[in-house]
């Protein structure tokens, strides 16, 4: 297991390097002028200022030199400086990442708590009215864009019914944790899409397992239906869900980008939204690094969870 972890970590470093390089190239390939985006359109009054900016931040160098410069800084823990927000990217990530982790974490936990039992219930009562209702709702929420779900929830539960706030908690982390009234709608928005996804996979996985020989054997040995379902079938059914959860992390982070914009919640999505509109490359790269790490870690965690949930799985070099 340790050898496997070391190999995966080394692979992760290579993957991260490739991600940074590709992202760096793509960002530099975007048409437009960074100096103008940062200094403002009126900076054309004074071309010398534009030249000085390009010189200072290395934009007059070839892209590979720029990349190596940025990578060198990254290895020293320096993610760069946001020109538009006037702060180091590290401090921006430090203040915004915990908010997104909290939002995503709560919504994922909520989604799992709801989706897994629903998926199991649908599998057991498949092709019945309950299954059809939840299947329809799953398709609906899975197909609906996050911004649309969020907007509808605001109109219904905030503007009309006055039950929840129309924006996410504003202020520090303590407020984020305690202000459930404002946190509810963004969490539910993210969770609805995730519930739709996870419940479908759980349903499918449980159905597959219910048809396995070991279920028939367990029943033949006198195990109750409840015991077979929750002790045997569920455990095996969760294996693909664990993989899915790990691989879904980047997608959920991406969903948080939209959710945070709709709910005016100052997390990573909010930060990336601002940075993308202002060609704030250092912040964009910082965000992408975080998402890339989340993806690699998610994949790694999925593999580990696989081994924990299924002792038959052994990670050895073939």
């Amino acid at each position: 297991m340790i050898g496997f972890l070391i190999r995966r970590l080394l692979q992760a470093v290579v993957v991260l390097l490739l991600v940074t390089m590709i992202t760096f190239i793509l960002l530099r390939a975007i048409p437009g002028n960074v100096a103008v985006a940062v200094l403002g359109p009126a900076s054309y009054r004074n071309p010398a200022v534009l030249a000085a900016f390009n010189r200072e931040y290395g934009f007059d160098k070839p892209w590979f030199d720029q990349y190596l410069l940025w990578l060198g800084h990254l290895l020293q823990g320096n993610l760069g400086f946001s020109w538009t927000l006037d702060q180091s990217v590290s401090s921006l990530l430090g203040s915004h990442l915990p908010k997104t982790v909290w939002l995503v974490g709560v919504s994922v936990v909520l989604a799992l708590v709801i989706a897994v039992p629903i998926g199991v219930w649908q599998a057991v009562r498949r092709n019945g009215p309950v299954d059809y209702v939840f299947t329809s709702l799953s398709f609906l929420f899975y197909a609906a864009p996050t911004f649309f779900v969020g907007t509808v929830l605001i109109l219904v539960f905030s503007v009309k019914l006055h039950i929840f706030g129309p924006e996410g908690p504003q202020g520090g982390m303590v407020n984020d944790i305690t202000d459930w009234k404002d946190l509810t709608l963004p969490v539910v928005t993210l969770a609805l899409v995730t519930i739709a996804l996870f419940s479908r996979y759980t349903r499918s996985s449980v159905m597959d397992n219910l048809a396995e020989d070991y279920v028939r054997t367990a029943r033949a040995k006198g195990a109750s239906g409840r015991r077979v379902l929750w002790r045997h079938v569920l455990r095996n059914s969760l294996i693909p869900i664990a993989t899915l959860l790990g691989l879904s992390l980047p997608g959920i982070m991406a969903g948080a980008l939209i959710t945070e914009s709709v709910f005016n919640y100052p997390g990573m999505g909010y930060l990336f939204f601002q940075a993308a509109q202002k060609q704030d490359y250092p912040t964009e790269l910082g965000f992408i690094i975080v998402v890339a790490i989340a993806t690699v870690l998610g994949s790694l965690l999925a593999d580990i969870a696989y081994a924990v949930l299924d002792p038959r799985v052994r990670y050895t070099r073939l």
Binding site: P31, G32, N33, V36, A37, V38, L39, G40, P41, A42, S43, Y44, R45, N46, P47, A48, V49, L50, A52, W83, T84, L85, D86, Q87, L92, S95, F147, F148, T151, V152, I154, L155, V156, S158, V159, K160, L161, H162, I163, F164, G165, P166, E167, Q170, G171, D182, E260, S261, V262, F263, N264, P266, Y270, F273, Q274, Q277, K278, Q279
Partner: protein, 628 residues
């Protein structure tokens, strides 16, 4: 040039949401009683009484937050949100512009009496208002700022124009505790010098004349200023310390900052030492940041309905505003309890024509008849009444039409000199040697430079085919471009529309490509925002239309125009400005387009003193008060 329009990007459509609600049982309740439409009120009831105290909340423009507190900003930080909506609350410029909606000098809110001109000399006498630390706002404070300008302006003052302030002053002398005299390189038009040069100055307290090592002497020695600037710039970049900083707590404006976070949440309390004529009535003033217009609108609607945070002064996306009936000042307001107050900036709107184009169209672009023909195809009336919902102003030339000012000539007041007229456009092309093919491609049939011929450099068979990059994200600009494309096709001008992000369009069409050494491979570029006359309030053309100017995007050059511009800079006669604008309006150096509302502002009916708004985008919450 303002850059707010792009912020409307990614605005979810409430109409689409409403339509889908009909399908969704969950949302039926939301649609059943959506947004009562009420006629707009004219403000707080005159019968209501003024309340002392209270906290007023004000919504920042979408996706923007103050990021610089030092009122000496480089291009990076030279923005409306930093100056007009943040710094000016605490640090007042020497001269305040904005009398109600009029963008003119407001003597009572200025720190100095109106300047006195005597040939090449200008004398400024300060009023002796107080800083919050008890010191007097005096001539030394003003000299401190001018010295800093002389030391670091080219790189670090965002409004610096080569050859203008401070390059056009030769001597600065403090002649008394409250008096400062400057000698200019020539006698300028006093209105121009006051409105476009002195308008930039902001006195700075002696408490700021320091470096990390201790006190400095930039006030008296220009050579010391670079280090002082570096220190203050560094302090200004430490956003988390703004509210507690002993530097930034010394203010001469009506407000002091008590809390701030990098997301843009700011809280101000009244400065008890403020010497101005109107002291704050509110106990607190808060600025709130928003990601998008729609996120702000959600909160505004919910607050208006009694749920969540209440926004006292906010805004509504233009796409959600019902059309204004003809002849009405303001149309129906979809938000109950608020007054709809469209804010149209003191600005002109246009998109440049590139006279230095390398696409092969430059010879055509230089032909006056072609530019006039294209201008006849820009249907400003339809754009204002359609996509702008009635909330826009015509651009009739280089001087803004809104608000009404004495700067606009009698000819300008007559309205659009090129009202939509396909027949005239067709006639202009046909009478100058073009074979006009409606819904096809018009070609040059008579090359040459004589009367009735296409003009110099235009070959026989040359086609009127153009690429037109424009900024996406602003609904009405996108509709305007489609309409212009359609109108142009009626006379055989083929416009290939190229929707692009705002930054890309400004990168293409913002610079004078020869001066800035960027690609000249473009003919038109519409970023949608034109030019705001802030902080250069007098609408002369030295930065936009003078030959060789860095902001003369298309490289327009015309000796007669240059001569007339130079007269506006030196002659105090109003006719100089009239002569120039009348001439340039019909020369169509750029394509004039409507000036859409900068923001559809919503003001709570329980808050008084907000209206009328300043067209310079300055805000004055010291005038605001709650009523009961």
């Amino acid at each position: 040039m303002h850059s707010q329009q792009w912020r409307r990007l990614l605005r979810p459509s409430y109409k689409m949401a409403a339509a889908c609600c009909a399908v969704l049982a969950l949302a039926l309740a939301a649609c059943s009683s959506s947004g009562g439409s009420t006629p707009s009120a004219t403000g707080s009831s005159s019968a209501s009484s003024k309340v002392v105290g209270g906290t007023a909340t004000w919504a920042l423009p979408p996706n923007s937050a103050p990021n610089y507190i030092f009122p000496f900003a480089s291009s990076t930080y030279f923005s409306t949100v930093n100056f007009a909506e943040f710094q000016y609350l605490m640090y007042r410029p020497l001269y305040w512009f904005g009398n109600g909606a009029s963008p003119t000098l407001n003597s009572s809110l200025s720190l100095a009496d109106p300047p006195v001109y005597n040939g090449k000399q200008v004398t400024i006498t300060l009023k002796g208002w107080k800083w919050s630390n008890g010191e007097t706002v005096n001539a030394d404070d003003l000299e401190f700022w001018i010295h800093m300008m002389q030391a670091v302006a080219p790189g670090d003052w965002g409004d610096y124009v080569p050859g203008l302030f401070p390059s056009n002053i030769s001597n600065v002398k403090v002649t008394g505790p409250l008096t400062l005299t400057m000698t200019m390189d020539k006698a300028y038009n006093p209105t121009w010098f006051t409105d476009n040069e002195l308008s930039q100055l902001t006195p700075m307290p002696m408490a700021w004349d320091k470096t990390a090592a201790g006190a400095s002497n930039c006030t008296n020695v220009v050579a010391d200023c670079a280090k002082v600037y570096a220190y203050l710039d560094g302090q200004s970049k430490s956003l988390s310390t703004w509210a507690s900083s002993p530097i930034w707590s010394v203010v001469d404006g009506p407000w002091k900052l008590t809390s701030f976070n990098a997301d843009g949440n700011s809280t101000f309390v009244p400065n008890p030492s403020y010497s101005g004529p109107v002291k704050p009535t509110l106990a607190k003033f808060e600025e709130l940041p928003f990601t998008t217009e729609s996120a702000e609108y959600n909160v505004l609607q919910a607050g208006a309905a009694g749920a969540g945070q209440k926004i006292d002064v906010g805004y509504i996306p233009t796409t959600d505003v019902p059309a204004k009936p003809a002849n009405a000042t303001v149309g129906p307001n979809p938000v109950n309890g608020y007054t709809l107050a469209p804010l149209i900036e003191w600005a002109i709107n246009y998109f440049p024509i590139n006279y230095q184009s390398t696409t092969g169209n430059a010879p055509v672009n230089k032909q006056l008849y072609f530019r006039q023909a294209l201008q006849y195809l820009m249907n400003q009336k339809a754009i204002i009444n359609g996509p702008l919902r009635g909330y826009g102003a015509y651009t009739v030339g280089p001087v803004g039409t809104y608000p009404a000012t004495s700067y606009l000539s009698a000819q300008g007041k007559l309205g659009d000199p090129f009202p939509y007229n396909v027949a005239k456009a067709k006639q202009l092309l046909a009478s100058n040697g073009w074979n006009v093919v409606p819904n096809g491609i018009t070609t040059c049939a008579k090359p040459g430079t004589g009367p009735g011929e296409c003009g110099a450099g235009i070959a026989q068979g040359h086609q009127l085919v153009y690429n037109l990059p424009y900024a996406t994200g602003t609904n009405w600009i996108e509709q305007e471009m489609v309409q212009l494309q359609s109108n142009a096709s009626l006379v055989g001008i083929k416009l290939n529309l190229e929707p692009k992000p705002f930054n890309q369009v400004t990168a293409i069409g913002g610079p004078n490509c020869v001066v800035a050494k960027t690609s000249c491979d473009w003919d038109f570029a519409n970023w949608g925002g034109g030019w705001s006359f802030v902080p250069d309030y007098y609408p002369t053309g030295e930065t936009l239309f003078l030959s060789g100017s860095g902001a003369n995007s298309g490289g327009y050059t015309n000796a007669e125009n240059d001569s007339l511009i130079n007269q506006t800079l030196t002659s105090a006669s109003p006719s100089a400005l009239s002569n120039w604008q009348n001439y340039l309006a019909t020369q169509v150096p750029v394509i004039w387009q409507p000036n859409g509302a900068y923001q559809m502002v919503e003001v709570s009916n329980s808050l008084g003193g907000v209206l009328p708004q300043s067209t310079t985008a300055n805000i004055n919450p010291e005038d605001w008060y709650f009523t009961k």
